[in-house]
């Protein structure tokens, strides 16, 4: 199976690899997946408290090229969005942007889950109620 050019580009030049200080109140962290399943994503957002917009996003991913690309792309899309906008990112948008084949759709689902988990972590830290998301369809 050949990878799409966009997946290859994100794999070779991943955007926003790194770690944010999770002790800070304005940083939300989402850790999803499991080592036994072959992919784990950690995605973090840092929210500008004055504007409410995501000013930085970082990821680290254990997984195949498509998983790395999905999380790299997600961090790109998150920057500049409000927290409420962030949770509207749909995994199928990632699938389309990266031309992921059907067997790799779960990578995009994982990225969507990571975003939601990071937002909920941020909400929890700031005394907001966690949002209950519906189970993603593809797992």
């Amino acid at each position: 199976m050949a990878y799409s050019e966009k997946v290859i580009d994100h794999y070779q030049n991943p955007k926003n690899v790194g770690t944010l200080d999770k002790s800070k109140n304005n940083v939300g962290t989402g850790l999803v997946g499991a080592p036994e399943c072959g992919d784990v994503m950690r995605l973090q957002i840092e929210v500008d408290e004055a504007t409410g917009l995501i000013k930085d996003a970082k990821f680290k991913t254990f997984g195949c090229g498509s998983a790395i690309a999905s999380s790299s792309l997600a961090t790109e899309w998150l920057k500049g969005k409000s927290v409420d906008e962030a949770i509207k990112i749909d995994n199928m948008e990632i699938v389309e942007e990266l031309n992921l084949p059907p067997v790799k759709i779960h990578c995009s689902v994982l990225a969507e889950d990571a975003i939601k988990a990071a937002v909920n972590d941020y909400r929890k830290k700031n005394g907001l109620e966690e949002i209950k998301f519906e189970e993603s369809a593809v797992h």
Binding site: E36, C37, G38, D39, V40, C64, K104
Partner: protein, 405 residues
């Protein structure tokens, strides 16, 4: 100058040796006869070529030419041996002993046998991939008719104690079948010394063409028979009907002859290169060898690089280096290699494995390049692995509640 891509997946298949192709060519064009045509020179020529190849194949495994049944490959050989014995010896019993790291062609055939009313014992290997002959002996029952164990494993290269198992089989009057696909042509295999009754092999794993293989079926002490699985013209002593693939068989014979001549020097050279590769890669922090260090094929090494995922790792160099991973990220089940799991590896380590399979045309320059690329990519991916970061911070990953999906 290095030519890309470098092929290090010789357990999947091997290129045809140019000398094999050269031997085959006339049998496509001038000498195209059907080996079963008894009444004209085209048929005689083809039959003569097949007989010669039969000798070449037999010689490599210490068999008599009459004991070689040509097949389409090892999958057919596995099916014919197991189903054929099960049907032929139905009056003697219905129990088969095999193990949990066999190739799917053996495991799925055994599953089929169970549906047909047979009984199958799947022995477990130890964490180096070896079968304990004592377990084999303990599993033998009055209704046992066949022991089916691989000579060498395709993923980790572990070589089974077939000779000891052969003695046990003989002692108890049980037939021994071995899928020797990975071993024949790579290490010495002798059906007489090893007390093997049936043996499956294939040409394309030993520099011969795809689509041709053989099943060795012992003719003396004891005389073994299998029920044919294909009905037709009664070729191959009635055990395998179908017009013989003459060019393929000629190529297979040539490949066996070359293996006979060059196996020792190939093995020596390849094990030195393999050791160089392996020693260098095991220098990487948290890299582990899978399988047995001594009892294994000379050209294989299977290594897990903890905290990086195998498919992601291969993507770092898959335009330049072709190899395999125990990760099954592309499969719908997301299940990693059942062989590595049978060796006791956790799913995480199985996902992190790479199999390096060297071959006759592998060069030291290619190995040096591979060491460099794999090391570089492992380091790069670990920099983006959350698991590596946790490991470095001293967090025990087993204490984390992972969201299994």
């Amino acid at each position: 100058m290095l030519k890309f891509p470098i092929y290090l997946d010789h357990n999947a298949t091997t290129p045809c040796d140019p000398r094999v192709v050269e031997a085959m060519v006339p049998y496509f064009t001038e000498n195209f006869g059907n080996a079963a045509s008894r009444n004209h020179p085209f048929g005689w020529q083809a039959e003569e070529a097949v007989d010669y190849a039969r000798e070449q194949v037999a010689k490599l495994i210490g068999a008599d030419p009459k004991e070689i049944i040509f097949t389409s490959g090892a999958t057919e050989g596995d099916n014919l041996a197991i189903k054929g014995v099960f049907e032929m010896y139905a009056s003697k019993g219905n129990h088969i002993i095999t193990c949990n790291i066999e190739h799917k062609a053996v495991l799925d055939t055994c599953k089929h046998i169970e549906k047909e009313g047979g009984e199958v014992t799947y022995l477990e290997v130890n964490n180096e991939g070896l079968i304990d002959p004592k377990d084999v002996e303990a599993a033998i029952k009055p209704n046992t008719i066949l022991i089916a164990l691989m000579y060498a494993n395709n993923e980790v290269g572990t070589v089974m104690p077939i000779r000891e198992i052969g003695e046990i089989a003989r002692k108890h009057g049980v037939l021994l079948f071995t899928d020797a696909t990975q071993a024949v042509g790579k290490i010495p295999v002798d059906v007489k010394k090893d007390n093997i009754d049936l043996l499956a092999m294939t040409a394309h794993k030993m520099y011969g063409p795809k689509g041709v293989g053989a099943l060795y079926v012992r003719r003396k002490n004891p005389r073994v028979k299998v029920t044919a699985q294909l009905d037709g013209g009664g070729h191959e002593r009635g055990m395998r009907s179908g017009t013989l693939n003459v060019p393929g068989i000629v190529g297979f014979g040539k490949a066996c002859e070359l293996a006979m001549q060059e196996m020792d020097q190939d093995a020596k050279r390849l094990s030195a290169l393999r050791d160089k590769l392996e020693n260098a890669l095991l220098q990487i922090d948290e890299a582990y060898l899978n399988g047995h260090k001594e009892h294994r094929l000379p050209h294989v090494s299977n290594i897990s690089f903890k905290y990086v995922e195998g498919e992601g790792l291969m993507m770092g160099f898959n335009k330049e280096i072709a190899l395999s991973s125990g990760s099954a990220c592309t499969s719908a089940s997301l299940e990693p290699s059942y062989v590595l799991k049978a060796l006791g590896l956790g799913d995480d380590l199985a996902h992190s494995s790479l199999r390096f399979g060297l071959g006759r045309f592998t060069t030291e320059e290619q190995i040096d390049y591979t060491i460099e690329q794999v090391t570089k990519t492992v380091n790069k991916l670990r920099e983006m692995s959350p698991l590596w970061e946790m490991y470095k911070e001293g967090i025990d990953l087993d204490t984390i509640e992972w969201a299994h999906h």
